[in-house]
């Protein structure tokens, strides 16, 4: 399954990379609700990483409600995407936005450029989602 590519040397823990990629694919629609993920063993073999790492990634994803692990059957994308409570969502958005604003400002861009870039990113994301 070639959807995942990890770089063990980037300093980002491998399990985080996998989690981030799963989340990205769910957000982009490449992984549909109810779709099955490769088994821990298969993915470990394909990516050549410790199965415990895959297990940890899956476990955390399940905890976050992104996937569900069905005993004896495998890992599946959750039918209903996880939704955060409103306050938590707002807080997270604010953190992300502040961070983006600061970093974008450091590139020397002005407010208009930053807003355009954000719109483009959202459009591109929506285009990938079939619905």
């Amino acid at each position: 399954m070639l959807l995942f590519s990890i770089n063990p040397h980037s300093g980002v823990p491998v399990y985080r990379q996998i989690m981030d990629q799963v989340r990205y694919h769910v957000a982009a629609g490449t992984l549909a609700p109810g779709q099955q993920l490769p088994s821990i063993r298969e993915l470990a073999h394909t990516l050549a990483v410790n199965p415990a790492t895959i297990a940890k990634a899956y476990s955390e994803l399940e905890h976050d409600g992104v996937i569900e692990l069905q005993r004896g059957r495998g890992a599946f994308i959750h039918a209903t995407p996880p939704s955060m409570p409103r306050d938590q969502r707002r807080q997270r958005l604010r953190t992300l936005a502040e961070r983006m604003a600061v970093e974008a400002r450091q590139t020397g861009a002005d407010d208009a450029d930053i807003r355009v870039a954000l719109d483009q990113a959202l459009t591109s994301l929506n285009r990938k989602r079939p619905s």
Binding site: P8, H9, S10, G11, V12, P13, V14, Y15, I40, R41, A44, H45, A48, V49, N50, P51, A52, T53, T95, E98, R99, V102, E103, Q106
Partner: protein, 313 residues
């Protein structure tokens, strides 16, 4: 909580006349861990592994595998542990087939199918006497023997040394398949090549001059350290400026690059909020991290070990 399958306490070994190979080493490998023992050549890694396997006698301290001194343990316990060393020789008159047949009698859990699969993947000729195989092939045979015995603990001394990148990847894959069968198996391997560690290891221990300098879960190590770069608007870094949690710094004009230990998620964010500064942070690859750490005075590593993440599980 004592869930350690491998444990060394104050382990010491001196070779005559006066070579101190291991000097008060503490090591703890929890069950199910893949533990990478890192250190420069001569740090004492091979000696440590030999002490754990009972091949050498410690001068002081204890070295236990599966709860006891493996040298005096009953056969049932000993056959749950296998060992591959960099320098060992296999019986040179025997063929790999004969040796595997022998192992199938010695180890209760011997997995012939797994052995056959690995032989095929490693593309080995098992009908030739082992003495006629190249060093790399002999090592691969030894690894197959160690893994196909399906032990609870595998101890590997520099398994990838001298192997080309393809063989190294094959070795890692073999290890992963070995781990992936559901049994809670523990692997302890020593290496001075960091790149392979990051794929498989979830615990690491850094040895220097016979002592354990730093050890703990890999995620905690990587997660806790970051490289932060701060660029000042002036033409030099103001004196007295310090990033909270910084361990090492390098300055070059207005640019300050530092290894920072994170204690607080917003540590870097707060810096970034300061208008005059351009702040970027990067994850630290294991290799970079250890190069940075190895340049430190080993005696001052104590502060790293008192960090909250180095909880021995």
């Amino acid at each position: 909580m004592n869930d350690a399958v491998i444990e060394a306490i104050d382990l010491s070994k001196t070779f005559r006349p006066a070579v101190v190979a291991v000097n008060g080493l503490d090591l703890r490998v929890p069950r199910g861990a893949v533990y990478g023992l890192i250190g420069r050549n001569g740090a004492g890694k091979s000696t440590t592994l030999r002490l754990l396997m009972g091949l050498l006698r410690p001068d002081r301290g204890t070295a236990h595998v599966l709860g006891s001194d493996i040298k005096d343990a009953p056969r049932e316990t000993r056959q749950r542990v296998t060992y591959v060393s960099q320098e060992q020789q296999l019986p040179w008159r025997m063929t790999a087939d004969e040796l595997m047949a022998y192992f199938s009698q010695l180890y209760d859990q011997w997995d012939t199918a797994f052995a056959t699969d690995l032989v095929r993947r490693f593309d080995l000729d098992t009908t030739r006497p082992l003495g006629t195989l190249s060093g790399g092939d002999q090592r691969r045979v030894a690894v197959i023997l160690a893994l196909a015995a399906r032990p609870d603990v595998v101890i590997l001394d520099e398994p990838a040394a001298g192997l080309d990148p393809v063989s190294r990847r094959q070795l890692i894959e073999a290890m992963i398949d070995f781990l992936g069968d559901g049994g809670e198996r523990t692997v302890l391997f020593s290496t001075h090549i960091l790149a392979d560690l990051e794929r498989v290891a979830d615990h690491i221990g850094f040895m220097d001059r016979g002592r354990m300098m730093l050890s703990g879960p890999l995620d905690a190590l990587q997660g806790g350290m970051r490289r932060v770069q701060v660029i000042f608007s002036g033409d030099r870094v103001p004196s007295g400026f310090e990033i909270p949690g910084e361990l090492r710094r390098r300055t070059d004009g207005p640019v300050l690059t530092a290894i920072v230990r994170l204690t607080d998620p917003d540590q870097v964010n707060r810096l970034q909020a300061i208008e005059e500064l351009r702040v970027t942070e990067h994850s630290l690859g294991l290799e970079d991290l250890f190069i940075e750490l190895m340049e430190r005075d080993p005696h001052s590593m104590g502060d790293l070990q008192s960090s909250p993440w180095w909880q021995h599980a």
